[in-house]
Structures are given as structure tokens and as C-alpha cells.
Symmetry: C2
Amino acid sequence: MTGFPFEISATEGKARTGVLRTSRGDIRTPAFMPVGTAATVKALTMDQVKETGSDIILGNTYHLMLRPGAERVKSFGGLHKFSTWQGPILTDSGGFQVFSLSQLAKKSEQGVVFQSHIDGSKHNLTPERSIEIQADLLGADISMQFDECTKHPATHEEAETSMELSLRWGARSKAAFGERKKQNLFGIVQGSVYPDLRKRSAEILIDQGFDGFAIGGLAVGEGFDQMCEVLDYTPDFLPDDRPRYLMGVGRPLDIIESVARGVDMFDCVMPTRAGRHGQAWCDYGSFNLKNARFRDDHEPLLAELNCPASQDYSRGYIHHLVKCGETLGSILLSWHNIAYYQYLMQRIRSAIAAGNFEELRKEIADKTANGLP
Amino acid sequence: MTGFPFEISATEGKARTGVLRTSRGDIRTPAFMPVGTAATVKALTMDQVKETGSDIILGNTYHLMLRPGAERVKSFGGLHKFSTWQGPILTDSGGFQVFSLSQLAKKSEQGVVFQSHIDGSKHNLTPERSIEIQADLLGADISMQFDECTKHPATHEEAETSMELSLRWGARSKAAFGERKKQNLFGIVQGSVYPDLRKRSAEILIDQGFDGFAIGGLAVGEGFDQMCEVLDYTPDFLPDDRPRYLMGVGRPLDIIESVARGVDMFDCVMPTRAGRHGQAWCDYGSFNLKNARFRDDHEPLLAELNCPASQDYSRGYIHHLVKCGETLGSILLSWHNIAYYQYLMQRIRSAIAAGNFEELRKEIADKTANGLP
């Protein structure tokens, strides 16, 4: 197995902390990747994103192939230069959004033909095209295999059929990707809620020699308990020495419980989407700044968090901005939320290194249960 | 006459450059004041506004008295602390917007009773209340007298009646303001397009002892030529040693022609409003980034302008952001536009100091006439 050097410096139970060393910079794990769907982490400059302590961001193949077009991004020197983000970028394969966002998606063994949700134009996405877009045109540091996100709930037979298609698409993705020194390709473990399928999926992907492994098909409506159940065993099927990435997860509690089960990487639109809807995240959950209780609140969002958005403005001011529909409200809340997520990840990493991750895990669980004081 | 020290360091014709020294920092003149209507310069952080070279911003009494309420701003320590803008702030009196934005505004000798355009609540604005809001509650460094912005067109009789009301309101504003060392109060010259009225208005205001003088009732539909005509004579009625402020103006060409006629200070929503509508300003006028001609444009907005928004992103990227409705598009264009305005002001100041303002004036006029190459 090849791939970027991945150095695990400490573990506590199944939780691990370390560094994934890419050619564009180190990713401290467990890592949270802010989502930069359309070559922008919504409402923020890349300098602000960097300032939150984000080591890597995520880009969306589906969105970028439609607008501005993958070949156009390439003509601008790739996604890093186009977006001005100089650190590592992971791209998804488009497989998830082609089904959730596009119109009239038609699946075949070959791939998916679909119509753009923007202008109805017809497109074709295959494992080969997905890899071409991700690795060659966008220039992702980490590309994902093309896969089908198995629906939930699915019978064992449905899950197996879907998983096997993803495995065949995975093999084609790997063949299209070839051998690259400065770029990695991750496989995606499917198999829904069935341990035997998850195990087989992992074994075949390992055999194919991917550089890292995502756990797919979660955060699709199965709920917290069932997600934890799948995570109780799936990471055990994966090699210790390669990074594990849980796609599309999640809330702070989801993240910390996943870390406890051996996951290293996360992405989620939660912090930016919540920010655009007036919500601020903290250990106790999220609170909506639009609420009148914050009208005369002179406290900052989170004084202990070393981010201008969290420290320099009163909640009363942000309440005012949100009430007035001022863009700065979305900016400050998105900025704070990503900074909070990175602050959580930093505390997780430090706790594992110091051997008190279980205490942090309990603290976050208790705070979440109690809600904002 | 009192007021902040105003040191004029160079003149060329009627154009002047210098510094107005307030207790919260120096204002280099000619100065452009970005508009921070609701305690935010739309889509920007105050750090970004400061970084553009803005010395002073403007706040709107009408908006702030309705949301979050002037007493509430005071409870947060005033407008500077509430908004995090630490430099000087000039506030308008509310007199203009109470007529242009509110519902059912009823004018009497006493003042104006009106209904909020937001929730229909009833409010009362008088010269005394306007000064209380501006100077005591918001804590403006420069307050404006309460006035009536004379409609355009107006007959000589209408203009005279309106001007005299503004003069009586000006006297009451001055009485309410009293003597203050760290705050200034500006009078507003009215009189529409009639030299005799402008002259009388100026004489009475000078006699009342204001700290600076605004020229009101322009940029209300009279057009460029008639505005220039009024500015051909009105500044001459004002003392050389006090700042002159042209309210609500304008495009770069308006500004440079006003400077040529002796104006020192400006404010306008143009750069931020244009930015939210996809437009970028430069010496040649404004261009809309949504236009397909910018889709494959690798150039930055304005390479010579030392602002991240102007230098670090391709026009093609900003085109993409605007097309996708991404907030970062509004942010970058608003930021660039204010930076461009400040860059223009800096060149104006340097040109007057170097004795080549007439060359810059001709250059901007020629470029504006020719449009974007």
C-alpha cells in the first residue's frame, strides 16, 4: 500500500491522532474539512478559512463540473489556483450529488447520465470521467472513487447489489487513477448496516490498494444510534496505517463519537449552513442568534475561541445583523462555526495525545445533553 | 469658529488637500466615507474596511433608531463599540431617509412624525431628538444638523421655504448640541439651484457657528451638469478653513469634479451597492462581472490596487461566484469597490499635493468617456 505518509502519534482506545503529510501541507488528524462546494467555502475568504486552523477543504465534483466546468477550472490552473486555497483539497466523486441533486439521473453499469439541476443540460459521469475531473482537471490532492451511496433503509440484497456496483466502479476508478506520487485516491466502504457486507467491501478495497478509506452510506437518515453501530465494527475492517474518512458527518457529538471508534477525517456543510441560518455552534449545541434573548447580550459568541468572529463582536450585535438580514451576520456566524469545529478537533487531538480523550468525550456528551446554560 | 483642527496642506485651483484631526484619528481629505447604514458596511468586516484606507465611515440615524434602537446602541457602549469600528464616524440626521423610506411622514415646525418602514411603529424625529441620537446615544464624532432635503425640482419659493425650515432646525440642532470638544456638528447648506438662497443659507449657518458645512439637496435627480453648476458657486460661500461635505455623492467622476470645485468629503452607497449587484468600479467606469466576457478572464480586477479583492482573484473566478450567487462574490466586489474609491481619493490627494490634479482630472474624464478597453 502506498499513499501520503500517515503518522499516528498517539492513540486512546480506538481513537487516534496523527498527521497525514500531503505534498501541499500537513493534515492534522482527526481533521475536519470545511466544504467548499463551488470553489468557495460559503461566505468566507480562504484566508479566513485558513485562520480557523483548517488544514484541508473539500470540493464538489458535481457542482464544479456544471459550473464553471472542470475544463475551465483546469484552464485557470486547477482548483487551488482558481479558488486561491493553497492547502490540500479533497474532492468527492460526484456520485452522491448526481443522485440527490440532478434531474432524471439514469444509472447503468457504465455510469450515470443526468441533467443539470441548473440549466437542464445533459451530462455523463463515469468512474473514468470522475477521476479525470478530480485528479487531472481540478487537481485534487485526494480524489474519491466513484461510487453509489446506498439508500437507507436497504435490504441485505439491495445493499449487496449496490455495494458490488461501487466495488466495480472502485476498480475502474483505481485503474483510471493509476500510480501518482503527489495525489492520493481513497476507496469508499459501502454495505449499509450489514457487517458482512462492510467487511467484504473493505477487504476488496484493501486488496485494490487504495491510499485511504472512506466510510460511505452513513449520515443518510439512519440516525445517531445506527450510525454508531456501523462505526462500532467498520473501522476494524480497515488497516491501522491508512486514514479513515467518514463522509458528510456531522454534528460535534457525531464527530467525537466517530473519533472514539477510529475515524480520522470528516466533512460537513453544518457549520456554514448553520451560519447562514443565524445559528452558532458551541459545546452545548447550536443556538439561533435571531432569538430575542440575544438582543441585549453583550457577551461574544465564544470568548475562549481565538477567532475574530467569536471574540470581537457581541451576540447583541450579531443578533442585530441577523435580524436585519445583513451579510456580515452570515459571515461572522459561518466563520465562528468553522473556527468552533476546528477548536473541537484541536481539543480532540490534544486529548488523545494527553490520554484524556474519554474525559473530553464525556464532557461534550454531557454539555450536549444539557444544552446552552 | 471651533471644530476639529483642519489643516490644508496644498491647494490647486479650488481643490484642497489636508487633514481633519478628530479625537478618534485623522481624516485625510478629500475623503470618501463608506456607508455603514445598519452599523455594518454591507458584506465587509470593519478590518477589511480599514484596510482599504478608509479613515471614517458614515452611520444612518434613521436605520439605527429603528433597529436596533439608539438607546440599545448606547447600552452597548455606542456605535463604535457596537460595530467594532474604532475610527471616526459621521452620522446623518435622519432627515433625508425619514422622507425617502418611512411611511406616512408628517412634517411640522416641530419635526417629523413617521411610521417605520420595517414594522409600522410610530416615531418622532425632531432636531433635538436627532442630535440626542447622533451625539449622545450613537456617539458620532461628527453629527449633522436635522434638515429637510429640498425636493428637486423646486421653485424659488418652495426652495426658500424649505431652506428656512432647515435653518430653523439647524439653529435648534446647534442649541441641542451645545459646546463639545471631542464631537463636531456640521450645518447643511440648502437652497436648491438658486445662488441667492445658497448664499443666504451659508451665511446664516456660518453665523450660527457650525464646525463644518455640508452641501445638501444634490444627488437628488438634478443630473451631473446642474450639480456641477451649483458646486461652481456654493463652496465659495463657505469659509476656507472648515471642511465641506457633499452628501450622497457619487460616481468617481462626480467626486473628482466636486473636488475641483472645493469639496473635501463625500459619502455614497455606490461602491457597496454596485458590489452586491456584480459590478466592479475602475477609472473607466463600472463593469458587470456577470457578463460572459469575463468567464475566461484570468486577470485580477485591478492589479495595481493593493487590496486582496483586487489582486488575488481572477475575474473569471469572480464571474463564477456571481453567476452562482455566492456570497463571496458580493464580498470581493464590495471590498474592491471601496478600495478603488479610496485609491481614487489617494491619487486625488497626492495629485493636489504634487500640483498635477488637473492632469488626473482630465485622465479620469477621458477614461470615463472611453469606457473599459
